[in-house]
């Protein structure tokens, strides 16, 4: 319970070269709802039954690190199954540390009712006997993740579970590639632990020493200190400026305020702008950087899933007008993109899955191999195994980059990235932006577009089935929550209307797609009806 099982487990796995599996995440994905909902709708005992089933499944595997729930090994049967196939490590912490780490969340059903601190103390007391039966107990209260990982590695070496003592060196586990855009070429660096390496990574870019970090309260609380510290260590003086990352605050008022913060810092031509956050932060900070002093060097540090696999690549930056989304913007390439995949582990599960929709999209339109990788590694992907994340984030970025390279400004090639978006946008609008989130809407949009392609006989029914199955495995919706007429009404307002024709991206097969025009509203209506729930 908030002792760092997942963070420690992930790093331990990547150091050992093992897969990482997260029990709760797998259960939630399989049941299609968060753990807290399983508790409220079916009760704790139903959850415990699902948990035991999952324990049996993962206990049958080798070469993996498993993070369990805090209560998993209270059931002796679970403890035995896990001990039979591996080493059981119990991470503990004192109630205050745990309370500080979980923050004001309501996502932990075991803490419902009464004073949280008291609930934590009681649970720890109840579980102490079970934890004592673990092979190793580590108190994680006062220690860093890496300290705990090292401690476990020492234990494993001592007991000859592993042959040789491996060490943690996260930067060497990162990967990078270059986006070739002539003078706007730049590097994308992807890996675990990079938030603490930002200063070192940007050192040779010829930046001025004084810069600005633009972020939002949430990301600042989680990551701000780490980034600022690494920049300070590398000799930079960077002021941190927070602004709300809500879509409704992504307007000219916030922008004007940002400019004035930049003016107050007396930034000059080479002063770097660091954009730390999700899509809205990146777009807004990116636009401010693009237009202050006719363009300052921009470093994108995406922390949300969609920002990492999609919007940080390609240079699209923008703000909203009351008349519509992203109406004022630019194409402005960053000088570097620094993508720390560990940041994704802090996301709410639903947001993480929404990001997976974009990964599936990119694989479906362009890379059959990535699609297969996702199909074969559903559990690792859902558990946020670091190697799996580096792999699919990198691949998704590379594909997006290759599309952008071919077509930097929005032309026909780039528009295949809109697969699922025509209907997706309409779905978001039709539900007043309070229904499915962007990723979920895109997931449904892709299914609609693919079934349209099947009707046109350009795509096989099998490809559609694979798409549907993978999306479902990732806990994404594949049938529509509103009726066809409602969606249709909003498709007509989609801004990608050229010469009054709605353009659609049609799947040809997994890994290949084409752009086509909608022949008639009826064609879309039929596809929508076929995807009704």
């Amino acid at each position: 319970m908030a002792t760092g099982k997942s963070s420690v487990g992930r790093r331990l796995a990547i150091v050992l070269g093992y897969d990482f599996l997260d029990l709760d995440t797998l259960i939630a994905a399989e049941e299609g709802m968060p753990i807290s909902r399983i508790f409220t709708t079916r009760g704790e005992s139903a959850f415990r039954a699902l948990e035991t089933r999952m324990v049996d499944r993962v206990a049958g595997r080798t070469g993996c690190v498993v993070a369990t729930g805090g209560g998993t090994i209270v059931n002796p049967r679970n403890l035995e199954a896990l001990k039979r196939s591996g080493v059981v490590v119990a991470l503990t912490a004192d109630p205050d540390t745990i309370l500080a780490r979980i923050g004001p969340t309501e996502d932990r059903p075991m803490l419902w009712g009464g004073d949280k601190r008291e609930r934590i103390r009681l649970l720890l007391e109840q579980r102490a006997g079970s934890y004592a039966k673990a092979d190793l107990i580590v108190d994680a209260s006062a220690h860093s993740i890496d300290y705990v990982v090292n401690h476990i590695l020492d234990f494993l070496t001592l007991h000859r579970v592993i042959a040789r003592r491996t060490t943690i060196h996260l930067p060497s586990m990162s990967e990078s590639f270059r986006i070739a855009l002539g003078p706007r070429s730049h590097e994308v660096i992807i890996g675990p632990g990079l938030l603490g390496e930002v200063g070192r990574l940007v050192k040779d870019l010829g930046l001025a020493q004084t810069g600005i970090l633009l972020t939002n309260p949430g990301d600042n609380r989680l990551f701000g200190d780490r980034v600022i510290r690494s920049l300070t260590d590398a000799g930079f003086t960077v002021r941190c400026v927070e602004f709300a990352d809500r879509e409704d605050a992504k307007g000219l008022e916030t922008l004007t305020w940002l400019y004035r913060q930049m003016a107050a810092e007396r930034l000059e031509r080479r002063s770097p702008v660091f954009a730390l956050g999700g899509v809205v932060t990146g777009e807004m900070a990116g636009f401010a950087a693009a237009t202050y002093l006719r363009g300052l060097p921009l470093i994108q540090i995406p922390t949300s899933h969609i920002a990492q696999v999609d919007t940080s690549i390609g240079g699209k930056v923008a703000v909203n007008l009351p008349e519509g989304k992203n109406l004022v913007g630019a194409f402005y390439q960053p000088r570097q993109v620094i993508t720390d995949v560990e940041a994704l582990a802090s996301l709410p599960v639903r947001d993480f899955r929404a990001g997976l929709a974009e990964v599936v999209k990119i694989a479906a339109i362009r890379d059959g191999e990535l699609f297969e990788y996702l199909e074969q590694n559903v559990e690792e992907v859902l558990s946020q195994d670091l190697r799996a994340m580096v792999r699919f984030v990198r691949r998704a970025c590379e594909i997006k980059a290759s599309i952008v390279e071919a077509d930097e400004r929005e032309g026909d090639v780039r528009s295949i990235l809109n697969f699922g978006h025509t209907v997706g946008h309409a779905l978001e609008a039709a539900t007043g932006y309070r229904g499915p989130n962007h990723g979920e809407a895109v997931a449904m949009g892709m299914v609609v577009a693919a079934s349209m392609a099947v009707r046109r006989k350009v795509c096989s029914a099998e490809a559609l089935a694979r798409l549907r199955k993978l999306l479902q495995a990732f806990g994404l919706p594949t049938s529509l929550p509103v009726d066809a007429a409602e969606v249709l009404r909003f498709v007509r307002y989609d801004k990608k209307i050229q010469d009054r024709q709605v353009r659609f991206v049609l799947l040809k097969e997994i890994g290949e797609s084409v752009v086509a025009s909608l022949e008639s509203p009826e064609e879309l209506e039929e596809a929508l009806k076929a995807c009704a729930s």
Partner: protein
């Protein structure tokens, strides 16, 4: 009509300079493949008093375009974020989309503001510039700088964004107030000073006809100026080095504007003062023949660009140092190597500068 082709990484475009071109706007944009719907930004005087905007609108409509006309108040205050925002909103409401183009009809303020809006609305739509002041025709219409001001400083927000076409109609200069016309001449002299002895001689010889706004002479001079500016910008599109010579006279010029107060002197008068100071500094340094500084002074007087009253040298120095400190800490000046040549040089010893500024009092 003179045509000049500008080749930049950000785009290739033509600059047309000639008489009575506005009524031919529609035919001149024909080859550009623009969408049907266009926005035209101008200010009220140009639309109503002089009737330029109706000429343009009629010509565009005759060529089959829908034109939405938007007017903004004249003056530097219009170069603001608020104005840019309301302009964007108005253009969206007029039905412009990413296939539309935006035209600026006016001076530097209209051009900078409209260029910025064109660069950012729908992430960039086609921009066409129809400059109507001498300063805008010889200077701000070539180079792609767009921008608006913040309370903290001028042009702090902006982009580099190249137009698809520039049409400089010299007839519009006929209605320009005399002082504003002369102000534009300072930039003409500047271009001659940094790059073109021939042009400088022409200015000396044809001063009378220039001041009388003879259309043929103006056309030739403006075309020549655009060519000089284009050449410098082509060599240095994003202002990394060479382009700095275009700031000849501007370091002291900005200080004069700040010391005397914006609006009390024209930009041209301030730059004229700055050029002469820089030329005298260059003479002290042995870079420029004294005779050339003398010719510069004579020409500036001829164009009535040198003020009678002088700002305090100490005050100017304070502003110069403050301005430069804010940027990069090192005092750098564009110095003249004699008429037709310029170089960027560090000024570490301030005695020369101080004496050059004091020399202006004489």
């Amino acid at each position: 009509m003179s045509t000049l082709r500008v080749n930049l990484k950000g785009g290739t475009y033509d600059v047309f300079v000639g008489s009575d071109l506005l009524r031919r706007t529609g035919e001149m944009i024909r080859g550009l493949g623009l969408g049907r719907r266009l926005g035209l930004v101008t200010h009220a005087a140009l639309a109503e008093t002089y009737g330029y905007a109706p000429l343009v609108v009629a010509s565009l409509r005759a060529a089959g375009h829908d034109v939405g006309l938007v007017t903004v108040p004249p003056g530097e205050e219009s170069k603001s974020l608020d104005r840019a925002a309301s302009l964007c909103r108005e253009l969206v409401r007029l039905g412009l989309d990413r296939g539309s183009a935006l035209l600026a009809l006016g001076g530097g303020v209209i051009g900078d503001l409209t260029g910025f809006v064109a660069a950012t609305l729908f992430r960039g739509i086609a921009f066409l510039n129809l400059p109507t002041t001498l300063l805008a025709q010889v200077d701000s219409s070539v180079g792609g700088k767009t921008g608006v001001n913040l309370p903290e400083g001028k042009n702090l927000v902006g982009t580099f964004y190249q137009p698809r076409l520039v049409v400089a109609d010299v007839l519009t200069l006929q209605t320009l107030p005399a002082r504003e016309f002369r102000s534009g001449l300072a930039e003409v002299v500047k271009h001659a000073m940094i790059a073109d002895v021939e042009l400088f001689r022409t200015l000396e010889e044809d001063a009378e006809r220039i001041l009388a706004r003879d259309a043929a002479v103006l056309q030739a001079i403006i075309a020549r100026n655009c060519a000089i500016k284009a050449k410098v910008v082509e060599a240095d599109e994003r202002e990394a080095g060479v382009r700095a010579v275009l700031n000849f006279g501007h370091t002291v010029g900005h200080a004069v504007e700040a010391a005397v107060g914006y609006g009390r002197v024209t930009h041209g008068e301030a730059v004229a003062y700055g050029m002469l100071a820089a030329a005298r500094l260059s003479v002290r340094r042995g870079l420029c023949p004294a005779a050339d500084a003398g010719r510069l002074e004579a020409l500036l007087r001829r164009f009535e660009l040198l003020p009678d009253a002088h700002p305090e040298p100490e005050l100017l120095e304070t502003y110069i140092v403050r301005d430069k400190k804010a940027r990069n800490g090192v005092l750098q000046f564009v110095l003249t190597l004699g008429i037709g040549g310029a170089t960027l040089a560090p000024v570490s010893d301030r005695t020369d500068l101080r004496e050059a500024l004091h020399g202006m009092q004489a």
